[in-house]
Symmetry: C2
DNA sequence: TCGTAAATAGAATTTATTTCTATTTAGATA
DNA sequence: TATCTAAATAGAAATAAATTCTATTTACGA
C-alpha cells in the first residue's frame, strides 16, 4: 500500500483498517470529488457488508486530519475528494464532470491583512471555491444537470 | 416600507406579500446571518400561522434574485443574511457572534486569469468566505459553541 | 498471543429540506 | 373599485442526509 498514506494515518492515530484504506483507495483512484453516498456505492462492490455510518465517520475523520478535503457544493450537499497536499485548499471545480483542479493563486495574505487592519479581527479559516467548466467541458457545450 | 427593497422585488417578479416583507425585515434588522429555522422562529412571533416551506421558498427565491446571500457554513447547515449590494460576495464571518462584515479584497481577476490561462477553463461562479473572530469576539476569548 | 481501545454493522433516529394539494391573496386589468 | 389570475401559502406528508446507539469485531502495541 501507499507508504505516505500509511504514515499519514499513523500520525492521526487512525488504524489502517481495510475499509478505511479502501475509502482512500477509491478517492485516490478517482480524480473527481464524490459524495459520501457515492463512496458507499463503490464500497459495496468491494465489501459484502458496509454501513453508511462507516463511510461518514471515516470521511469526516480523514477530512479533519487533513487527508481529505471537504468540498461544499452550492446545492447543500457535501462532497469529498482526496487531497495530496493538505496545505492547498483552493480549487477549481468543474460543475459538469466534477473534476477538481488546484489553483495556485490564493489571496490569503491580503485577506488576513485586511481583516487585521480594517476589521481588527482574526482569521481562523477561509474557503475559496471556484466553480466553472473545465477545458474539456467548455469545449463541448452541453452541460449535464 | 423600504423603497429599494420594493423595487428589487418588482424586478424579480416577486410579489410583496406580508410574509416575504417580514422575512426581509427580519434579515435587515439583524446584521447577523440566520438559519432558515431561526427565521421561522422569529416569523412565528409575528404570524399565527406560518409554514417552514414558506421560509425556505422565500429565502431561496430571494437568494436566487441576489437580494439575499446564501452563506455556506463549514458544518453543513445553510445560513442566510441580507445583502445590501448584490455585487459583493466576499465576507468575513464571525463564528462566535455570527456577525457578517464585507471584505473589499477580491482576487476574482487573478483567479479568472489563472483558470483561463493554465487550466483553459471557464469560471462561472466563485465563493469566498473567511471565518474567524471579529474585533469584539477576539478580545473576549471565550468562544460559544 | 493476548488485551484493549478503536472500528464496525445494522437498526433506529434525528434533522433538514422538499413535495404535494387545496386554499388564499397580491396586484394587474377592466 | 370589482374582478380575475397567476403567484403565494398552510399544513401534512414524504424524502434525503447525517447521526446515534449497542453489541460485536478487529488492528496492533506490549
Amino acid at each position: 500500500m501507499n507508504k505516505d498514506l500509511y504514515v499519514a494515518l499513523k500520525s492521526l492515530n487512525l488504524k489502517a483498517t481495510p475499509k478505511r484504506l479502501a475509502i482512500l483507495d477509491i478517492l485516490v483512484a478517482e480524480s473527481v470529488y464524490l459524495a459520501p453516498e457515492e463512496v458507499w456505492r463503490k464500497m459495496r462492490k468491494r465489501f459484502k457488508s458496509i454501513g453508511l455510518p462507516t463511510i461518514y465517520r471515516n470521511l469526516e475523520d480523514l477530512a479533519n486530519g487533513g487527508v481529505l478535503i471537504k468540498i461544499i457544493h452550492p446545492d447543500r450537499k457535501l462532497y469529498y475528494y482526496l487531497c495530496a497536499n493538505a496545505d492547498h485548499h483552493h480549487h477549481f471545480i468543474c460543475i459538469n464532470c466534477k473534476k477538481v483542479e488546484d489553483l495556485s493563486y490564493c489571496g490569503a495574505e491580503e485577506i488576513e491583512k485586511e481583516v487585521k487592519k480594517n476589521l481588527k479581527g482574526r482569521v481562523i479559516s477561509h474557503l475559496m471555491q471556484v466553480f466553472g467548466l473545465c477545458k474539456d467541458c467548455s469545449v463541448s457545450r452541453t452541460i449535464a444537470t
